[in-house]
Symmetry: C2
């Protein structure tokens, strides 16, 4: 498997990105990495490592997109940005996946403009795997790509989330719930009330109704659908709360319980953008080598399980 890694994106780029990539590629012969970014810098960074140059190569990309830029504009103007070059490699079948820890907006824009959206998908969502009480994960979709969502777009998220949960989590009939401010059908804002009606009518999905915030962690749902505004705030709140509790335990003399490892996003590594015609793995901006390594493993898992083709199949079933 060949992965084009955006070596310039993320808080710890390129140092930690390079370290994670070197570790992953060394493990198995069938793996190949393209480190995409400023050639001189990356070659310098690679010096301390011993690696097989036929399986780890640097691909030059002179420009970098920062967090402050408008993603869509940046993607159009900076044709030689690392995320653009990496995405093009997937489009041209020179690589099987992209991985980036940089601006998620830019990665999404590159995916839409270069790889293209799947038929039937208006707004590709970003997903996150949330650990739950059963020891498994629950998929939260969307966690930030689309702040204002229409009901039919939330339905599209449900279809993509269904595929992800069945393929990646291995759940047979994923239970799909709608995040809401109450369990009753009558609860919700304008958008979720309309979405509830759409989800209930949709054939081929196992819609279990509304889910409240307090039940996210119980494992009673495999996929939780929400707009990207709510999902983004929620995901960051979970991250902030884990830190708050860990800090509070430390301050009151505790040791940090081992369980906190389950809340560590570096264990998950990353997740693919869904609804785009190519594998593009989003990693946390603060990813260090372990998270990058785990992100690459996710990419491999998605590739081996044909996540792109499986989404296309699910969508064609619906429209057909």
């Amino acid at each position: 498997m060949r992965i084009a890694v955006d070596a310039m994106g993320g808080d710890y780029a390129p140092v930690e990105i390079v370290a994670g990539a070197v570790k992953w590629v060394a493990e198995e012969v069938g793996r190949q990495i393209f480190l995409v970014g400023q050639e001189e810098l990356l070659k310098q960074e690679l010096k301390p490592y011993s690696y097989d140059p036929s399986r780890l190569t640097v691909v030059n990309a002179s420009e970098v997109i920062t967090m402050e830029e408008s993603p869509a504009t940046a993607i159009r103007r900076k044709k030689d940005a690392s995320i653009v070059v990496a995405s093009r490699m997937v489009k041209e079948k020179k690589a099987d996946a992209i991985l980036s820890c940089g601006s998620t907006g830019a990665q999404m824009a590159a995916a839409i403009f270069i790889l293209g959206r799947m038929e039937g998908i208006e707004r590709p969502p970003i997903v996150a795997s949330i650990p739950n009480m059963t020891g498994a994960y629950t998929l939260l979709i969307d966690v930030g790509a689309n702040v204002d969502c229409k009901p039919r777009q939330l339905l599209q998220f449900a279809l993509l989330g269904k595929t992800y949960a069945s393929i990646i989590y291995g759940v047979e009939q994923p239970r799909i719930a709608l995040l809401n401010n109450g369990e009753e059908e009558s609860k919700g804002n304008t958008v979720t009330m309309e979405t509830y009606a759409l989800l209930r009518q949709q054939p081929g999905i196992n819609f279990t109704g509304n889910i409240e915030g307090r039940d996210i962690f119980t494992g009673k749902s495999d996929v939780i659908v929400c707009d990207g505004f709510t999902g983004n705030i929620l995901l960051k709140t979970m991250e902030g709360m884990a830190l708050f509790i860990a800090q509070g335990i430390l301050n009151t003399g505790g040791p940090i319980p081992a369980f906190f490892q389950r809340l560590d996003y570096t264990q998950t590594g990353g997740a693919p953008l869904l609804g785009v015609n190519g594998l593009s793995i989003v990693c946390h901006g603060s990813s260090k080598r372990e998270a990058v390594y785990n992100g690459l493993r996710i990419a491999e898992d998605c590739y081996n399980k044909n996540i792109i083709e499986m989404q296309q199949l699910e969508l064609s079933r619906i429209s057909g």
Copy 2:
């Protein structure tokens, strides 16, 4: 101080409500409780206790509003429901405050129809005090009363939240932030982007900009403004996550660190509805005696600090 307690509302009514009220009223001579609910039942419940009957009296109310009923309809139809009778006592100045652990929607409806909204307030919000890393609390407003909010209504929440934080938390120039999916001014959905502009223009408030989920617990804001859909999901997610972590620690052999007490809502007890012309304290539906007792203490604190008059003053300053 005289408090009309809705003795019929909540998961543990009337047993735990009565126990909390008896404890509170016994502590000081100046305190008075009206236990509002089914007279025979409450008299039976009071039998094991010794109390001063001149300071703890039962007020009969034959009807009960359930969680399943439409709050507005129930309030109009059930004139003898405990929450209606209790609210009327405040309106008629027979009591200084109401406290309820029952349906928040019914309590809000009773507050709006019987006590009335303050001038300049379209949609009274519900608040919650969130513990933060500085050892203090951050006010989250609205946590569930209004699922679809207009920017001007979020501005009204900010004004009410300012008063609450300065009066109850004792913060001089409360830092007010807007909950959003990014810190930058350009971030947000349609509603938060418009709200940002309104808050920035508003004289007399210390608006510090957008706040992300991960910073809720840092204590960098005193008041965090959001719509009731997001706030409700967020609050319940925090509750669910605290349980998830505690359960996870237990399952992996740990003792629960003492710090978890800070996350326990029973310590806070309750919070007043803001923007209505009377003191109405909302408590968690699962409140036991300690939470009820702490809720009564919050009621007393709000009463002593003239929270109603201070809100009216703040609102008249703005319109004047």
